[in-house]
């Protein structure tokens, strides 16, 4: 995998992970182009498209688009499930994750991703093991909890699609 982008329906970038060296300018250009391309697609269309010399695999969960760029010989369907497993991990960690969790705890979203994917390859696919690593890290710190009343903020959480 070359990179992964999370962006909202409004086109706001929520998370970016680059596994190939690119300049900031190039990253911004790619992001702009891809967000536009993906948002222009209709709901029933297929989740794969050719883009430059890469294959784009994307899926929408509630208000967020998860979008991965893979190389020619990579497997589209398994990438789709990488996205799904990441969503499951976020969901399990945050408890019914929603876009706000990722905005306010963006650093956690990055940490979880690093435990799951490293250098663009699956490092650990067991949900239990990934969460165990994150939990262990959490135990090392004095956890002060910050609550978000999701119902109050009216965000639809991903669980709608996760379960």
């Amino acid at each position: 995998m070359q990179f992964m982008l999370l962006f909202s329906r409004q086109g706001k970038l929520r998370l970016q992970k680059w596994y190939v060296p690119l300049s900031d300018k190039e990253k911004k250009k790619i992001t702009r182009e891809l967000v536009q391309t993906v948002l222009a697609r209709k709901p029933k269309m297929c989740s794969f498209l050719e883009w430059r010399d890469l294959k784009i695999v994307y899926k929408r969960y509630a208000s967020l688009y998860f979008c991965c760029a893979i190389e020619d010989q990579d497997n589209e369907l398994i990438t789709l499930e990488i996205i799904h497993r990441y969503v499951e991990l976020l969901d399990k960690y945050f408890g019914s994750v929603c876009e706000l969790d990722i905005i306010f705890n963006f650093e956690k979203a990055y940490f979880i991703l690093d435990e799951f994917l490293l250098g663009g390859e699956a490092q650990e696919t067991s949900k239990k093991n990934v969460l165990k690593a994150i939990e262990q890290a959490d135990l090392l710190q004095e956890v002060r909890r910050l609550c978000f009343l999701k119902a109050f903020r009216g965000q639809k959480h991903f669980a709608v699609q996760v379960s």
Partner: protein, 958 residues
């Protein structure tokens, strides 16, 4: 897991993020950010030392601001400080900042590397993982230099925790991708391969990515991974869905690992060991069988994971391309997916079938799905799926279904998405050419293509149809008739006008017998389009008109009228004006003979790879068009090009035919078009090879002649001696050679077939040269072509002195090689030995011949056998100065004829080469193209070897 989100409680960060979210405008957001940046800067600069928590909070805020898309130019140092914190979360934020925002500030890189080093050696697995993640995320060369040696050790050490191994494997992979030279597996190789056997599935999952990448680069060293991968795969495939516990995903055992194992196997050919192979085939069969079983879950995740493995297995089956049974089963499975309700599966099935279509075992099976695929092209709602369908139709096309597929693609083109039209056009053009049985179908198809999607028909496509029509005389009449009809349409695409103009200009005579398409009707039809066309097309039409004058003298006055009109002869476009003026002049002063020569029909184009295939390949990138397909295209293209019919001729003749476009080619303004580019790589380059090797006696071409008797010393001339030789083609006097010791000057004069050369050897040192001897030899067949006699020189040359040597040369017959001059002497005790080529070239024996334009063209025409002509198209090495060119041509020894060539930019020369055996008349034409900085040089002479040699010598002069 609690239902509340956990953070590490950076309240300030949360407040800041809230503030940003509440900003109503971009300006407000920027204002808020600037305020925060000022605040953070003052905190970082303040006297009061910040505690770890505050530092972490501010660094995190900076990171947030950066991720919003703003530039951050400070805070790196504070982030680096966090790396050495003992508190995990502080360290973690520090690493995150570095991973996202690292720049190659060398000072910082050293500090970062230090912190990483400490964490790697901390033996705290959580810290080690953080450090490894950071290396994997940054992956810079500096990090590779620092850690590429250490990480393999961590990866294979017995006491490394599993989670650290996983990170180490992928970290190493990232470093290998950026700096393969620094990652040396060497002694670790076999232990790394054995990670495939690790008990921990996570370790295998991570390690296999590394192994796959390394195997691609060093297949031999890693080949033991094949049997390990097969047995691992077999265990997974045969396991029950619950065996693998948390590695089972929606009832599919270890889908990621399975895919990676199948991917690894695609780096290798089928296993040679029968048992291993049997086991693998069993696995593949099981995977195919499972696809037919009822799903264990209705969730899309279940089917996706299962099918991901299936597609990867099919890729492996296609990669092996050796198991007909499996290939056909794969094809049937994909056939089912073609009609699946999931768009994703239809897309992938179409994509995968494309590769199956190129296998001889499954090609026929793929073809049975043609109706479904055509239907997909028509009805799929997603353009990317339609694109796949078009690709598959292209891939499954062969002689049996070409007409159907081309027709379907053409009809799809009428409504096709703009994004894929150009590619579709190329594909239709290629298929039409490749599978054309009768060429009228081909012509019809291409003209239809231009009609339907003219805007997307690139130059290559219409060049190609013209090349083919010119090379196939059986289709020329039909082509003329068809373009004539197509041009009747009130609105024609400009590309149609181009093809029409070109073809009628060449072959309009073939339909001129019919009063409905009489010459004048043809002309009026073409001219009715003229005013709507762009300049290049108008230029082409003007050339068609002058060709008409030649084909149909009865149209001469009408066309001259047109050329003479102000809108032509005073056109503000230089090219059009020039053509109008030249053509008008040409048509009024040249005799019918000259006109017929200048405007003769285009010669066949040389055999070569289809330009459109090359274009498609370029467009799709390497790999998109299989090698197989390319070769096939080349072969079939060649056949089409008329090469097939000429198969009996020797390739040399074919090559020189290829380089014989009529002199009218440039008049027709196609300098940048097909004929010139086509001729460029032909005969000329072939000759270069032969002649550049000629000085060295081991060349295969020359060794067939009797070996040299005279040559006692097989010394090879200096590498630069060819260059030195070239210096003297157009002049007789100068310095032939100079180094620190010796200078050799030369003076020569030639009369008839005799020459005399004075060589001056100058001692540049203050020490005498002793035992100074020179020998002149004629290697190989040259000894029967040249008679060279040299007087001996004084064996001693004092320091600073000069001695002279006289050489007499008699040209017996024409020759190509040059005599060798070997010089030996001792300087301060050391033996010096060098060999040069004596600048005796065939043109030295030229007698200039003056002649009038009429005579020149008549002789030119007489020398029309293909072998008598040599042509070269080459880039200008020097400025294209007319005076310099003239001086050089005069130096060549021929007469420079003024007012002979209709184009004043061109040069023509005539001369006779005097040899004892015969006289060889030679004509030369040099056409400079200042715009392209290219020359075309054509030499015709009564002897083929002379033409070639002259062309060869001269091509180096400009």
């Amino acid at each position: 897991m609690p239902a509340v989100s956990k953070g590490d409680g950076m309240r300030g960060l949360a407040v800041f993020i809230s503030d940003i979210r509440n900003c109503k405008s971009k300006e407000a957001e920027i204002k808020r950010i600037n305020k925060e940046l000022a605040n953070i800067r003052s905190k970082f600069k303040g006297d009061k030392a910040l505690d770890g928590y505050s530092k972490k909070k501010y660094v995190c805020k900076l990171l947030f601001i950066f991720l919003l898309g703003h530039d951050i130019d400070f805070g790196h140092m504070e982030a680096v400080n966090l790396l050495s914190s003992n508190k995990y979360t502080e360290k973690q934020i520090g690493y995150l900042f570095i991973s996202v925002l690292v720049n190659s500030n060398s000072e910082l890189i050293r500090l970062i590397n230090n912190a990483i080093k400490n964490d790697l050696s901390s033996r705290n697995p959580t810290f080690m993982c953080l450090a490894l993640h950071c290396i994997a995320n940054v992956g810079s060369r500096e990090m590779a230099e620092a850690f590429a040696g250490e990480i393999p050790r961590i990866l294979v050490a017995g006491d490394t925790m599993d989670s650290v191994k996983q990170s180490a494997a992928l970290c190493l992979l990232r470093l290998y991708k950026t700096s393969p030279d620094l990652v040396l597996m060497g002694e670790w190789t076999s232990r790394v391969v054995h990670l495939l056997n690790d008990q921990h599935m996570g370790v295998v999952t991570a390690a296999i990515s590394l192994i796959t990448c390394l195997s691609q680069k060093n297949p031999d060293e890693f080949k033991t991974c094949v049997s390990l991968a097969v047995s691992r795969l077999s265990r997974i495939v045969s396991s029950a869905s619950t065996d693998l516990q948390d590695y089972t995903y929606y009832f599919v055992p270890a889908p990621w690992l399975s895919c990676k194992l199948l991917r690894l196997l695609q780096c290798y050919p089928p296993p040679e060991d029968g048992a291993v192979k049997g086991r693998l085939v069993e696995c593949l069969e099981t995977i195919l069988n499972k696809a037919q079983e009822p799903p264990k879950s209705k969730k899309v995740q279940h089917s996706n994971a299962k099918n991901a493995i299936l597609f990867e297995a099919i890729s492996l089956i296609i990669h092996y391309d050796s198991e007909p049974n499996l290939l056909v089963r794969a094809c049937n499975q994909l056939g089912q997916f073609l009609q699946h309700r999931e768009t994703n599966l239809r897309y992938l099935a179409l994509e995968s079938m494309c590769t199956l279509a190129s296998s001889e075992f499954s090609h026929e099976a793929v073809k049975t799905h043609i109706e479904t695929v055509i239907n997909a092209l028509k009805t799929e709602r997603d353009v990317s799926v339609r694109q796949r369908a078009a690709d598959l139709l292209y891939a499954m096309c062969d002689r049996s279904n070409a007409k159907q597929i081309v027709a379907e693609m053409l009809s799809y083109l009428e409504t096709a998405d703009y994004s894929i039209r150009e590619e579709m056009v190329l594909k239709v053009a290629i298929l039409a050419e490749k599978y054309a049985v009768d060429y009228s179908w081909y012509v019809d198809t291409i003209l239809n293509l231009i009609r339907i999607a003219g805007d997307y028909v690139s130059e290559e496509v219409w060049y190609r149809v013209i090349q083919i029509v010119i090379n196939r005389d059986d289709v020329q009449g039909y082509a003329a008739k068809t373009v004539f009809e197509a041009l009747q349409a009130p609105a024609c695409h400009e590309n149609m006008v181009k093809v029409g103009g070109y073809i009628l200009g060449e072959f309009g005579n073939l339909i001129a017998g019919d009063p409905r398409s009489s010459p004048l009707v043809q002309f009026n039809l073409l001219h009715s389009k003229f005013h709507l066309c762009s300049v290049p097309t108008r230029a082409l039409l003007l050339s068609a008109y002058i060709k008409f004058i030649n084909l149909f003298p009865e149209t001469k006055s009408t066309i001259q009228e047109v050329l003479r009109s102000d809108s032509q002869i005073r056109n503000s476009d230089v090219e059009l004006q020039q053509r109008a003026v030249e053509y008008l002049k040409l048509s009024s002063i040249a005799s019918t003979d000259v006109l017929a020569t200048v405007l003769e029909e285009m010669p066949p184009f040389p055999e070569r790879e289809s330009s459109i295939l090359a274009k498609l390949k370029k467009k799709k990138g390497p790999g998109a068009v299989s090698v197989n397909e390319l070769e096939e295209g080349k072969r079939e293209g060649g056949e089409l090009n008329g090469g097939g019919e000429r198969g009996g001729d020797s390739s040399a003749i074919a090559a020189s035919n290829a380089s014989t476009p009529s002199p009218s080619a440039d008049l027709l303004g196609l300098r940048t078009g097909p004929p010139v580019t086509a001729a460029a790589p032909s005969a000329g380059s072939l000759l270069v090879d032969v002649f550049s090797e000629a000085g060295v006696n081991d060349d295969g071409f020359l060794s067939s002649t009797p070996p040299s008797v005279v040559s006692e010393d097989p010394a090879t001339p200096l590498p630069e001696s060819n260059e030195l030789l070239n210096k003297f083609v157009c002049k007789n006097n100068g310095v032939l050679f100079e180094n620190q010791l010796l200078q050799i000057g030369i003076k020569s004069e030639y009369r008839q077939n005799l020459g005399r050369m004075y060589l001056f050897y100058g001692n540049k040192t203050s020490v005498q040269f002793v035992t100074f001897t020179t020998t002149v030899t004629c290697p190989g067949e040259l000894q029967s072509q040249l008679n060279v006699q040299s007087k001996t020189v004084e064996p001693l040359i004092e320091g600073g002195a000069q001695v002279q040597q006289v050489i007499n040369i008699e040209c017996l017959t024409d020759f190509t090689d040059a005599p060798l001059l070997n010089i030996k002497f001792r300087y301060g005790g050391a033996l010096q030995n060098l060999t040069l080529k004596l600048p005796v070239t065939i043109n030295k024996f030229f007698q200039p011949t003056e002649m009038a334009s009429h005579d020149f063209f008549q002789r030119w025409k007489q020398l029309s056998q293909p072998q008598q002509e040599a042509q070269k198209i080459f880039k200008a090495n020097n400025a294209m100065d007319t005076e310099v060119l003239k001086a050089k041509l005069l130096g060549l020894g021929m007469a420079l004829l003024e007012n002979v060539d209709p184009n004043p930019e061109n040069f023509v020369c005539a001369g006779v080469i005097q040899t004892k055996a015969q006289q060889v008349g030679s004509l030369l034409r040099l056409e400079p193209n200042a715009q392209a900085q290219m020359y075309r040089l054509t030499v015709r002479s009564s002897k083929d070897t002379v033409s070639k040699r002259l062309c060869e010598l001269l091509a180096e002069q400009f």
